[in-house]
């Protein structure tokens, strides 16, 4: 057996033995997702064990080095692991902005000390991170942010407010963009800092959304002390790190269009709900849109695969994160529009009823944010036009 064949077999055997049966189904509601953190409340023993076992294996962050809590897998192995997890429809053991957003810039730009301090607790799901990027007057124009950090020698005193902090009320630590030079051009006076959200002066207020949920907060900083050793990269050069993190955030958000997050194929849902006649979906008009959607879903997955191959071959175009973010989020919105249409009246239940307390309509509403958060679709198209097509202005 080849090395990869052996790895696949070992992985499959281990997952069969260690992934609890109840963890082999798509999420049915938000509580099914495990986010870890200081105040983590597990929904079940299975959820707890699944995380514990994956952590011990280094598989919450399979490609990170072992010394930071990862498994040091190469790209090939990581791909196999992902395929094997998908094969048994395993839920992610841990959802984490620490993994998907902070990890990559910390690995690339962080000092060894900062990596040692922050990466292992992220890998173990012990510290939950929140993102301090947008401000009330800095949305699409992120670099115009105004949160003020005053230099006090070995630390900063920070004042101002952030908005659209995902699960800000549940975050343990925050990575945050602050202005450290008010005289410089807007991109040049920004620093990337991290602080414990339990620090005095930090408070949050939930924002109620159209889905009825409050996954986002406003976050207020009132004379908050932030240590200077908690800056990634150089002071006033945080924009580079901010952008690097954004490419990962965009890949993560865009990737949601390529994976069904453990859910069933749209055409399968449609066949179950609407039925088929002679092997053809009963609603032939809807069928057309479903087929078109599933084709684009394949296109995105294949193009992500090609992008990985290009990186490997050293011929990457670069700067494609914006394209993937645009394509993936528009696709994900289409997915929920189709699911809403397929389920008809049943998709409109909000509370009670037999449809998981409106999980589908709430997810549909949530999906509308995909093409806004992490930079709107229009901003992504601007970036593609400017950086990949070289169009002026």
């Amino acid at each position: 057996m080849t090395d990869t064949g052996l790895f696949r077999k070992e992985t499959r055997d281990w997952l069969e033995a260690n992934c609890p049966e109840t963890m082999r189904h798509p999420y049915r509601n938000e509580a099914d997702a495990c986010w870890g953190g200081r105040n983590c409340k597990f929904q079940s023993e299975d959820q707890k064990n699944w995380l514990k076992r994956m952590v011990a294996r280094g598989w919450t962050v399979p490609t990170w080095p072992v010394k930071y809590g990862g498994a040091g897998l190469n790209r090939e192995q990581a791909k196999i692991l992902k395929e094997e997890l998908n094969r048994i429809k395993a839920r992610p053991p841990l959802e984490s902005f620490g993994i998907s957003m902070l990890g990559p810039p910390l690995l690339k730009f962080g000092t060894e000390e900062l990596r040692q301090q922050h990466l292992p607790p992220i890998a173990r799901g012990e510290i939950r991170w929140a993102q301090g990027y947008s401000e009330p007057n800095a949305g699409s124009d992120l670099a115009s942010l105004q949160m003020r950090a005053d230099d006090k020698g070995d630390h900063f005193i920070v004042n101002g407010s952030k908005v659209w902090t995902s699960y800000g009320d549940l975050g343990d630590w925050m990575f945050c963009l602050v202005r450290t030079d008010f005289a410089a051009k807007k991109h040049e006076g920004i620093s990337f800092v991290m602080f414990d959200m339990a620090t005095e002066g930090v408070s949050t207020r939930p924002i109620k959304l159209i889905s009825g949920k409050s996954p986002f907060t406003e976050t207020f900083l009132d004379n908050v002390r932030v240590e200077k050793n908690q800056v990634i990269g150089k002071i006033n050069e945080g924009w580079t790190i901010a952008k690097y993190l954004l490419t990962h955030e965009r890949e993560m958000i865009g990737g949601s269009g390529a994976s069904r997050a453990g859910g069933l194929p749209v055409s399968k849902v449609a066949a179950d709900v609407l039925g088929t006649e002679n092997g053809i979906l009963s609603d032939t008009v809807l069928r057309t849109d479903i087929a078109r959607f599933e084709m684009d879903e394949c296109c995105l997955a294949l193009t992500m695969e090609r992008a990985r191959d290009e990186v490997k071959a050293g011929v990457s175009l670069g700067a494609t994160a914006s394209m993937f973010k645009y394509y993936g989020t528009e696709l994900n919105k289409r997915r929920y529009e189709l699911l809403m249409s397929i389920k008809g009246q049943d998709a409109l239940d909000w509370e009670g009823g037999s449809n998981h307390d409106g999980f589908l309509p709430k997810s549909w509403l949530r999906s509308k944010a995909n093409s806004i958060e992490g930079g709107t679709s229009e901003i992504q198209l601007n970036i593609v036009a400017k950086h990949l097509l070289g169009l002026p202005g």
Binding site: I280, L281, M295, E305, A313, M323, Y327, L381, N382
Partner: protein
């Protein structure tokens, strides 16, 4: 493991094909054929140069004098032909014809035809469609077994390269099933009616009036024609998709260049967001198309039975995206795009032919869904 990037050797092939075509057969070559009322719609001289480059030999096994270089190599060349809109028998003879004979031909057929494909002397055409829209499994042409022979009667339409082929691959009903036959164009009872299509290429309608062929004319086993036909068509669809990719990319790149040069209101029109966003969207769709074409080519090389779902996905998406790219090219060029003097209109016309050839995006959307079981 399958990789979705070209290797060094394939990149060299692409570069040499691009250099050759840009030098010898740019869009002005096609324009010249049209303006000089070429009777065949392609240049025999250029074809012999392609033969010297070894292009028709790419899919032919070495024992028949070929290069055995695979579909990916052929696709690379067709993509470049799309960029320059260069007419040639590459698709019908060197790709579909060669693949058909290699896949389904008897030893005798291979020996008698493949060396001629390599040398560029033999030209083949697939005669399958009978109705305006592509419905390859709906066949009225009939082949009746009479003594040791088959007697074929019927009429086939819109045969690409039908006006120059020396041999037709003909689908015909044999009882309740379909079979394929190799029919010489000069057989008694064959009538070829050539005509010009909107991109100045030629095609032909062909009637078969009780023509007689021997058993050795059967391509593949009797009554299993659908499977072979689907394979030949799928090969053709991937080839057409590669050509469409070249057309779309070239039209897109020319348009982006124009957006940077053309000034209105004192600024390049490419600085307007209304155009930038459409261009950026098209860029994303074209990136999807690149992945599909290389995946489909590699799959033809690696999976003997092919992958109908992937082929239909590829042809459908390429048809739609190349359509978008060429129609956007016209709109973004504005008035000048409507003039015959400017080349961009040639891309629109060629694209319109290829997007419907062997099934348009409606046809392949339906086939994709069927393959997926809905």
């Amino acid at each position: 493991m399958m990789t979705l990037v070209l290797n060094e050797e394939q990149l060299m092939l692409r570069d040499s094909a691009r250099d050759f075509l840009k030098g010898r057969a740019p869009v002005s070559h096609l324009r010249g054929l049209r303006d000089n009322a070429s009777e065949e719609g392609f240049s025999r001289e250029l074809w012999s140069e392609m033969v010297e480059m070894g292009w028709p030999a790419i899919l032919v096994p070495e024992q028949y004098g070929g290069l055995d270089y695979g579909f990916t190599g052929m696709g690379i060349i067709l993509e470049e032909c799309g960029r320059t809109l260069t007419p040639s028998p590459l698709l019908c003879t060197s790709m579909m014809g060669a693949a058909a004979i290699v896949k389904a031909g008897s030893d005798t057929q291979r020996e008698s035809i493949l060396p001629g494909i390599t040398s560029g002397e033999r030209l083949l055409a697939l005669a399958c469609d009978e109705s305006p829209r592509h419905e390859p499994h709906k066949v009225n042409t009939e082949a009746k077994e009479i003594d040791a022979n088959y007697r074929i009667s019927g009429r086939k339409s819109a045969i690409v390269d039908g006006h120059i082929a020396d041999t037709f691959i003909v689908s015909a009903k044999t009882g309740n099933d379909l079979s394929l036959f190799l029919v010489p164009a000069n057989a008694s009872g064959v009538t070829v009616e050539p005509y010009q299509v909107l991109d100045t290429h030629y095609a032909a309608n062909v009637s078969f009036d009780q023509i007689e062929v021997g058993k050795q004319a059967l391509l593949g086993p009797l009554n299993s024609g659908i499977r072979t036909l689907d394979y030949i068509l799928d090969v053709g669809r991937v080839g057409v998709s590669a050509e469409l990719l070249g057309i779309a990319l070239e039209a897109f790149e020319r348009t982006i260049q124009y957006l940077k040069e053309r000034k209105q209101f004192g600024v390049p029109i490419g600085s307007f967001q209304a155009l930038q966003h459409r261009a950026a969207h098209l860029f994303a769709e074209l990136e999807m198309c690149k992945s599909l074409v290389i995946k489909a080519l590699r799959t033809l090389d690696e999976q003997a039975d092919g992958d109908a779902e992937l082929v239909s996905l590829t042809k459908s998406k390429l048809a739609e995206t190349a359509h978008l790219a060429t129609t956007e090219a016209i709109q973004m060029h504005g008035g000048i795009g409507m003039t015959d003097e400017f080349d961009i209109g040639f891309f629109l016309k060629r694209c319109r032919i290829l997007e419907s050839l062997y099934g348009d995006h409606y046809y392949h959307l339906d086939r994709f869904a069927r393959q997926r079981g809905y």
